[in-house]
Structures are given as C-alpha cells and as structure tokens.
C-alpha cells in the first residue's frame, strides 16, 4: 500500500454516526424550533459532510497542499454565497415568476 489504510472499525463507526445523524435531523424537523430548524438541519448536514470528507475521503491524511486546495474550495463557495446575498439583501431585487403560457 502507498496511502494510509483506515481501520475497518473507524469506517463502521463513521457509518453508524452518519445513520444516527440522519435519524436525528429527520426527527428534529417534526419539532417546531422556528427559524432554528433550518440552522440545526444545516449544522447536522455540515457535520455529516465533514465526517465523510475527513474519514471516507481521507482528508486527514492528504498532503498539506491538497488540504489547502480543499480549504480554497470552501472559501470560494462562501464567496459565492456572500456576494450573492450581499446583492439580494441590499438591493431589494424581487423576481415575480409568471405562469407558463401567459
């Protein structure tokens, strides 16, 4: 082997954690937390995605350069959201969809 071999126990543990978190996020949707519902759902999704990236995709064992690329990707994604929302929240753009065929 030429890259890090993960332990089967670790992989199964991550798998179980992902299943438990899926159950949790589904259950929490039935509880009314107001605006916090979407925050909690996204927080759980970020935890799940991080587990997949860190263990399954092996980000914890890649080179520093590779990790820098991953961080750059997340940074650019945040630019995409930040700049889009900077426009939509300050310029009072409203799009009114029309019915098909009208």
């Amino acid at each position: 082997m030429i890259s890090h071999v993960p332990r089967v126990r670790t992989l199964v543990f991550v798998f179980l954690a992902l299943i438990v978190l899926t159950g949790a996020t589904t259950a929490i949707d039935y509880i009314n937390l107001g605006d916090w519902n979407v925050v909690v759902a996204l927080a759980i999704a970020v935890i799940k995605a991080s587990l997949v990236a860190w263990i399954f995709m092996g980000v914890r064992h890649v080179t520093s350069l590779n990790r820098l690329f991953v961080i750059a990707g997340i940074t650019w994604l945040s630019f995409l959201f930040l700049l889009t929302f900077a426009d939509y929240t300050t310029r009072s753009w409203q799009y009114q969809p029309q019915a098909w065929g009208h």
């Binding site: 082997m1 071999v5 993960p6 299943i19 999704a45 399954f56 080179t63």
Partner: protein
Amino acid sequence: MAETLVETTGTHLQHHFADSEQQLETATLGMWTFLITEVLFFGGMFASYAIYRAMYPDAFRSTSRFMDISLGGTNTAVLICSSLTMALAVRSAQVSKRKHLIVFLCMTICLGFVFLVIKGIEYTRKWNEHLVPGFHFQFEPHQYQQHAQLLFFLYFCMTGVHALHMIIGVGLLTALIIMASRKVFNEHYYTPVEMIGLYWHFVDIVWIFLFPLLYLIGHHT
C-alpha cells in the same frame, strides 16, 4: 535504488513520477481540483435555492407535504451504506484483497441502483400529481402555485443533476470491476479505485445537503 523501486512497484509507474506515492498524491490533488469545480457547480444551484427560499418561505414550506420523507430518508441511508461499501472497497484494494474489492464494488453498484429506482418512483409520483414544472403544473393552495413551482423546478434540477452523477458513478464502478477482475490493481497501484471513491463520496455529500433542504422544510408547521 531507483531500479529496485521500479522493480517492486511494477509497470504502472509513469516515468515522470519519482515513485508510486508521488504519482498517487498527484492524482489525488487533480481529483480534488475537479471535485472543487463540482462543489461550485452545485453551489450555484444551492445559492438560487437559498435566495428563493428566503424570498418565499411560506410557499416553500407548503411543498413539504408532497415530499415523501420515508423514500427520501431511505435514499439517504442507501447512499450512506454505499459510501461505507466504497470506503471498504478502497481499503480492500490497498491491502490487495481482490475478491473483497470486487464484492464491495458490486455492493456499491447495487446500492446505487436502489437509489436510482427509488428516485424514479418519486419522479413518477410527482409526474402523476402534476408537480413537474410546466403547463400541467397544479398546486394547492393556489396562492402558492407560482412560487411552489420554483421549488419544484429546483427540486428536479438539483436531484436530476445529482442522479446524473450517480449514473456516471455506476458506469465508473463497472469499469473498476472489469479492471479488478483483470488483476490491474495491486498494493502499489490502486489509484483509479481511490479516485472514483473520492467521486462517489462527493456525490454522497451533495445528497447529505439536498435531503434536509428539499425533504425537511416544514413538517413542524
């Protein structure tokens, strides 16, 4: 030194790399670069989803009774299982267990098909319920008709592109099984298995975000 290295690592090592390790690191970096472009590709759709959900929260919430949470949840579990079998496949390749590798790859493909079949059932239901955006789109309560149509447009766009990635992934896994049965991989060379593993896990991550955003919008109201 260099000669013994070539001898022990076989013929897969291309001449412009110093050793197998550097070759794998290079491939991994290239794969991650591709995956980052994919992140931004899906990111555009997630951003438009976020804008319209922020604009029309009530209309988006009213669509949740048409989202089958048991089918969506099952598909989430199916994809997580397939990520586990994919990770185990990569591990089998690393320790040169060819039969285990083939078995885990076959399991991953089967789970991929289960996902696509369930997705197909959902699409059929949406079609029958007139929830596919277009001339026949019908939605109650009527006041949300136009804005709910936006959500369903995003739903088909995002899950459709995701499903396309799954179909491509199944094709790539089939190629891996053929390569594995031809004994292409050994403990010094399993780069394709690891790269397609990265791709498969990435597709899983996309679904991890799609599931709460499309299926878990408003059961609490």
